[in-house]
């Protein structure tokens, strides 16, 4: 067995798992805070990648890493205004709304950027490889892992240590109480949705240099987010992280050993988890 190839696939798997985690964490945050399933998350991620493409051509990749997620978050803030009339209505209408938004965004992206597949080139020194044990490793994948880890730690700090994080946690556990404390819940929902979408924008920027960006990919991306959410447990951020890593690594190793089958691995994992533990692998059962 080729250990080096295995190790390299492991890095690729973990990094793609981290990217999926960023997208899925946004969905999970919005679901647990607002009881709103955002089917447009894949489209937002794609928008992040396209904005990254444009900004990279003008200003360079590092600026794109900073600005593109913010642009996506602003678009998300506008979209959130559309959802406001539906918060107390049947959930079906919210789902159809986010689906419609995903369609509009996919075609809107196509209208702006065209149908050709776009590629983003990362700055020279990170698109190189570094050598370890005499074999080359792609630096960019390691960078993704580092950025995503920093982000995860940052999110954890925001959640546990700041006032905003405290209010977020409060609204997840008891929405009406937060409202009656005199906090503007509508504004909070806006912020929450924008944070969730900002995460997907970041994921989109990170994924941009390693895939060919095409406007038809939004539902494929959405599927990888969905599988991870189902496996990890829909409202458990930590479960989503573990699930994303598992799926990412399984996918990467699968592409090494089962090249014709590996696109089905996430779906298969999802089905197995649904049979064994329908509420998610990493959710503690409530007593």
């Amino acid at each position: 067995m080729d250990w080096v190839a295995l190790l390299r696939q492991l890095i690729v798997g973990i990094s793609s798992g981290m990217i999926t985690f960023l997208g899925a964490a946004g969905v999970s945050l919005v679901v647990s805070g607002m009881s709103l399933m955002n089917f447009a998350q894949g489209a937002f991620m794609l928008l992040g990648a396209y904005v990254c493409y444009t900004i990279t051509r003008v200003m360079g990749f590092w600026w794109a890493l900073l600005i593109a997620p913010l642009v996506v978050a602003i678009v998300g803030g506008i979209v959130e205004l559309l959802m406001r009339p539906l918060y107390k209505k049947n959930m079906l209408f919210q789902l159809i709304l986010t689906m419609g938004i995903a369609f509009v965004m996919a075609d809107g992206i196509q209208l702006i950027w065209g149908t050709l597949v776009k590629t983003v080139t990362a700055p020279v020194f990170i698109s190189r490889t570094f050598s370890l044990l005499g074999t080359p490793f792609p630096t960019y994948y390691v960078l993704i892992i580092v950025i995503a880890c920093l982000f995860a730690i940052g999110m954890w700090l925001v959640f546990e240590k700041t006032k905003l994080g405290m209010i977020f946690r409060a609204i997840i556990s008891d929405r009406e109480m937060v409202g009656s404390l005199g906090i503007n819940v509508n504004k909070l929902y806006s912020i929450m949705f924008m944070v969730g979408v900002w995460m997907s924008g970041l994921a989109g920027v990170l994924i941009a240099p390693i895939i060919g960006i095409s406007s038809q990919k939004s539902f494929g991306i959405l599927f990888s987010i969905m599988t991870v959410i189902v496996i990890g447990g829909i409202t458990s951020m930590r479960g989503v992280l573990y699930a994303a890593l598992i799926v990412g690594v399984a996918n990467a190793l699968g592409s090494l050993y089962l090249p014709w089958f590996y696109t089905l691995i996430p779906g298969l994992l999802m089905v197995i988890v649904l049979i064994l533990r329908p509420e998610g692998l990493f959710v503690r059962s409530e007593d």
């Binding site: 399933m37 089917f39 079906l92 689906m99 599927f223 779906g267």
Partner: protein
């Protein structure tokens, strides 16, 4: 107490349009191919098939209040299993249809079981996830499904091979299916399905296994989608990847919503509007998906009742609150 339950039932019952209306409609639809130019008959056949698809979907969505976001899976399942049996396994027409419908039922049951494992929100999520999964399989498994090109060379039954006879065949089949659906929805089973929408918790307290009813409804609804898929494959003489695309699921939901999801004929009306509109628009504009998205957003924001909304539901609202208060009392 009996009276009150009955009040509730009359509120949530879906009364069909008066019978005269129905007969007039059937006559118009039956005479239509004799009047309109022949190139339109194909389009109207498609309207009928999509109407069946949407009405089947509405059993889940409008009557039972479930969230079937990926119904195209089952249309595609019917069409593809039928197409593969004919083109790849060289079966003759009748056994292929029977076997395809059988495959539909089995796979429906499996997917339905998996989708119903979680909470209501997970149901919608999984329904859509299976749709995307199925799309991926169709796109990747090229030796069997033909990938993006699809399978062509699906025959129609000999007697009904022409455009007009095929129209009448579809019309007849769709009417039979409508009869079955309306019988199911007006039976005690259908009443429980509507109860699922109105107050699932109460049904659980009554000792009804709601999951099982949802699963049965899921299978029936998917079965009619499979029938529609087979008819669509015959209509276009081929099976194409557009039959499983998620945009078709969205279109079907929009047919129900625009026509009126709480009425029996709403999805049919919606199907006519959406199919004719989409065919017209896609002749001129490339961005049908985005336009459909805009339609979805506008409908959901401002037009949730649909065209055939039941006005009686609105006027009866005070009665309902009277009905509900004793139940609240007993629950508390």
């Amino acid at each position: 107490m009996n009276l009150k339950v009955e009040d509730l039932m009359t509120r949530i019952i879906i009364r069909n349009k008066p019978i005269g209306f129905l007969i007039a409609g059937v006559i118009i639809v039956a005479v239509l191919p004799l009047i309109i130019p022949s190139q339109w008959i194909q389009l109207f056949t498609q309207v009928l098939i999509m109407a069946l698809f949407a009405t089947g979907l509405n059993m889940e969505m409008g009557y039972a209040g479930m969230m079937p976001l990926g119904q195209a899976t089952f249309l595609g399942l019917g069409a593809y299993s039928f197409g593969i049996l004919i083109v790849k396994a060289h079966m003759s027409l009748a056994p292929a249809i029977v076997l395809a419908l059988f495959i539909c039922l089995i796979v429906n049951a499996i997917i339905g079981f998996l989708c119903l494992r979680g909470k209501p929100m997970t149901f919608g999520l999984l329904h859509m996830a299976f749709n995307i999964l199925f799309t991926t399989i169709v796109a990747k498994w090229i030796p069997i499904t033909g990938g993006d090109v699809g399978l062509s060379g699906i025959p129609r039954p000999h007697i009904f091979a022409g455009t007009v006879p095929f129209y009448y065949m579809v019309l007849g089949l769709v009417l039979i299916c409508y009869l079955i659906i309306s019988t199911i929805m007006n039976s005690p089973f259908g009443k429980i399905a509507q109860g699922l929408r109105e107050n699932e918790e109460r049904l659980i307290f009554l000792g009804i296994n709601t999951k099982r009813y949802q699963l049965i409804l899921f299978i029936i609804s998917g079965f009619f989608a499979g029938v529609a898929g087979i008819l669509l494959a015959m209509l276009n003489r081929g099976v194409f990847s557009s039959y499983v695309q998620i945009i078709l699921s969205a279109q079907a939901m929009m047919m129900c919503l625009i026509g009126g999801a709480y009425s029996f004929w709403g999805p049919t009306l919606g199907a006519a509007l959406i199919v004719i509109f989409s065919n017209t628009v896609s002749n001129y504009v490339f961005y049908w998906q985005g336009i459909l998205g805009v339609i979805m957003i506008v409908t959901v924001l401002g037009f949730r009742g649909g065209i055939l909304r039941k006005r009686s539901v609105k006027t009866n609202v005070p009665d309902v609150s009277v009905n509900k208060s004793p139940s609240g009392g007993t629950a508390g």
